[in-house]
């Protein structure tokens, strides 16, 4: 079954740690996105990719970085986590047209 996966679902980590949030999709979509969302609040685009070796920063400035080495994989990395990074991170993908399909999200808490 085609789907989009995010791991871990929940992460509690101390300040200064390096973390990588994983996102994979099995739909063969070229376009992938990372959003940051505080609970119940609006979504802010922080990174997107239109294909392998293509990454762009989104509308909301973020200290995170992303890579797109394989079509199906779009990991997000924080080199040094801080309490201000506490949020929910949502990954999405899309193909033709504009419909984006979202993963379940990673809830990150930085102590």
């Amino acid at each position: 079954e085609a789907d989009i996966y995010q791991t871990p679902r929940y992460l509690v980590i101390g300040t200064g740690k390096k973390i990588t949030l994983e996102c994979s999709q099995t739909m063969g979509h070229d376009k992938m996105y990372w959003y940051q969302q505080d609970p119940g609040m609006e979504l802010h685009l922080i990174h997107y990719s239109y294909g392998v070796n293509s990454t762009e920063k989104g509308d909301l400035s973020s200290e995170s970085t992303v890579s797109r080495i394989r079509t199906e994989h779009f990991p997000l990395t924080l080199e040094s986590a801080r309490p201000s990074h506490t949020s929910q991170y949502l990954c999405a993908s899309s193909e033709l047209g504009h419909s984006q399909f979202f993963g379940p999200g990673t809830r990150l808490t930085v102590l």
Binding site: Y33, G40, L45, A92, S94, G97, G103
Partner: protein, 113 residues
Amino acid sequence: QQQVKQSPQSLIVQKGGIPIINCAYENTAFDYFPWYQQFPGKGPALLIAIRPDVSEKKEGRFTISFNKSAKQFSLHIMDSQPGDSATYFCAASGEAAGNKLTFGGGTRVLVKP
């Protein structure tokens, strides 16, 4: 600058009522307007979407009304059920905007039994 404004922020209706959520956009280059439904702890799920060549679209109990001249669109939930309680987001995108979605601020809907 918020390009898609969504109202109200929250809405409470009785079971069977019709919650109505409104969105207004500024960018005339937008040509795709989806609505997403999000339950707590989950990612948003695409509910229904419309393009500006039609004024209304229905899928089950969900209806989008679109007014191109006013640059507004709305979501109606007919015969609402407690299971419809969720946060709803409108969004807009267009080729000129790189096909990226611009989201509204969200509306928290509570349907009371």
